[in-house]
């Protein structure tokens, strides 16, 4: 029984983690209910529809095919068990409370920096997703062939499907401000970084280790938890917590980066789904995208210096290492 259903919007930024609802915040980020329960599908195969409307440069058939490839990218993660089923084309539109999950183009010129968005309907008690719709903003130009002047539909779809399954934004990226406004991405280590790599780039068709850890932690296969580990600790500034601090774990063996956030009253973080081994822990302020892209609540502290924890930290197989504190200093 659904206690109550609620629709939530996720644009390129929106309500993601609540700093007050302290679940053990895992790597990357997951959407949660106000009580901290993670949002996820319980159905063995998640059904989706595509609108039968194309845009210049992308026919309805090409639209569906690009989405299918993007879904297949997430399904192919060997350590996760999520699966999808394309049901058919529909005349329904995204964001209608009709009980079906619809992907489609919509024209929203007023959203001048939003190329796509995802909404959910979910059980506010259990966190079970019951409907999720995704729109791609046809105010922008689109391509499925890597056209350098257009956004790559498949890349953006991989990102939005990450939201569709319950993943929030990752902060593993560096940006710079554009003179005309907005930000340009210098580099990102996650498809789930909230800002697109830009027109013409198809690099986000491929998941990165942070994305794979995120989906695997949310939909783990039988061996995932036994074969991976977690690092956990707190970010502190003097004797108080640093809410919203971004924590990145760098595996010295593989060179992979996985991220998480300090949340809760104590500034706790936990990054799960890590290959067992030794990690460099780097803590930085959340200043490479709008804070609202990650957190709904105010109070994120970005007034501190980038800091490396002075010890290498171990993620053991099948568990979490000893908790540690990272002490940061004000800028």
């Amino acid at each position: 029984m659904m206690a109550s259903l609620r629709r939530r919007w996720i644009r390129t930024g929106f309500v993601l983690l609540s700093l007050c609802a302290v679940q053990s915040a895992h790597a990357y980020s997951h959407f949660t209910t106000s009580e901290g329960t993670r949002l996820r599908w319980d159905a063995p195969r998640v059904r989706w529809f595509a609108t039968e409307r194309g845009v210049p440069g992308v026919s309805a058939t090409e639209f569906q095919a690009a989405l299918a490839r993007a879904f297949a990218t997430w399904e192919a993660v060997p350590t996760a068990t999520v699966a999808f089923e394309f049901v058919g084309f529909t005349s329904a539109e995204p964001f209608e409370d009709d009980g079906v999950s619809v992907f489609g183009f919509q024209n929203h010129p007023e959203m001048e920096r939003v190329i796509g968005a995802t909404t959910f309907v979910f059980d506010t008690i259990t966190g079970e997703l019951v409907e999720s719709d995704v729109f791609f903003n046809s105010a922008f130009t689109w391509s499925t062939t890597g056209d350098l002047e257009r956004f790559d539909l498949q890349s953006v779809a991989v990102h939005e499907i990450g939201h569709f399954v319950g993943l929030g934004h990752s902060a593993l990226g560096e940006t710079e401000l554009r003179p005309e406004g907005g930000r340009r991405v210098l580099g990102a280590a996650a498809v789930m970084f909230p800002i697109s790599l830009g027109r013409g780039s198809t690099k986000d068709r491929e998941l990165q280790p942070d994305d794979i850890a995120g989906i695997s932690d949310l939909y783990p296969d039988g061996e995932f938890r036994a074969n991976t580990g977690a690092v956990r600790g707190r970010v502190r500034r003097g004797n108080r917590a640093v809410p919203g601090a971004h924590v990145a774990a760098f595996n010295i063996r593989t060179g992979t980066l996985t991220g998480g956030f300090a949340v809760g009253e104590g500034g706790e973080f936990q990054i799960a789904g890590l290959s067992p081994g030794a990690y460099v822990i780097r803590v930085e302020p959340l200043d490479d995208a709008d804070v609202e892209s990650f957190f709904s609540s105010a109070g994120v502290d970005i007034d501190f210096q980038v800091t490396f924890h002075p010890r290498l930290v171990v993620a053991p197989a099948g568990g979490a290492g000893q908790s540690f504190d990272v002490a940061v200093r004000p800028k």
Partner: protein, 227 residues
Amino acid sequence: MRVSGPCFLLFTVVMLCLASAARAQSAATVPGRIEVAVGLGVVGGAALGSDDANLRTATGSDFRLFGAESRFGAAPTLEARAGLALTRRYAMEVRFALSHPELLTSISADVEGAPDSELTERIDQYVVDAALLVRLDRIRIGPVVPFASAGAGYLRQLHEGLTLVEEGTAYHVGGGVKHRFVSRGRGFLKAVGLRGDVRVYLFAGGIAVRNRPRPHAAAAGSVFVAF
């Protein structure tokens, strides 16, 4: 354990060379004699390599977040050996070595200006290996008898907190000298002496960057007794 092709080939070549050299040596040790030794030594540091923390750009090239270079520091070792003379020239021995090297990762060139730093972790390192020893009596200097050795064994590294074990293979070649202070043909205790060893190890697996093998130098001195 991982045994890479080139490492195995190197090991085989060294063993054949030692065997060939030993044919010309004169006899000195009684077959079946057991020798045990304990001692102290040092295992040298080794670079594990560098591997930057990179972000992916729109074109697929790398954007460096920070640089990371890892290495093991040198550390003292505690060693124990037990050997069996197979012939007058050859002996087999098993060695156990314990050390606590530091794993160090140097961080540099952080894109947001974090100061360079060095992160550390203390490792418990165990090596259990078997070796073939060949006495080189032709080049002995009085009571000091040189020998050559080569072998392979098991590498076990425990991270701080003993929460994670990483395993690998340790190959080595080396040599040393033995000096007997007491030597007699009768009685339970047949000999007492000092021994010095130098070795070059190749560690494969265990704690590594991109699973690259890495060489370590090692030296040890020990007291031995023969029965």
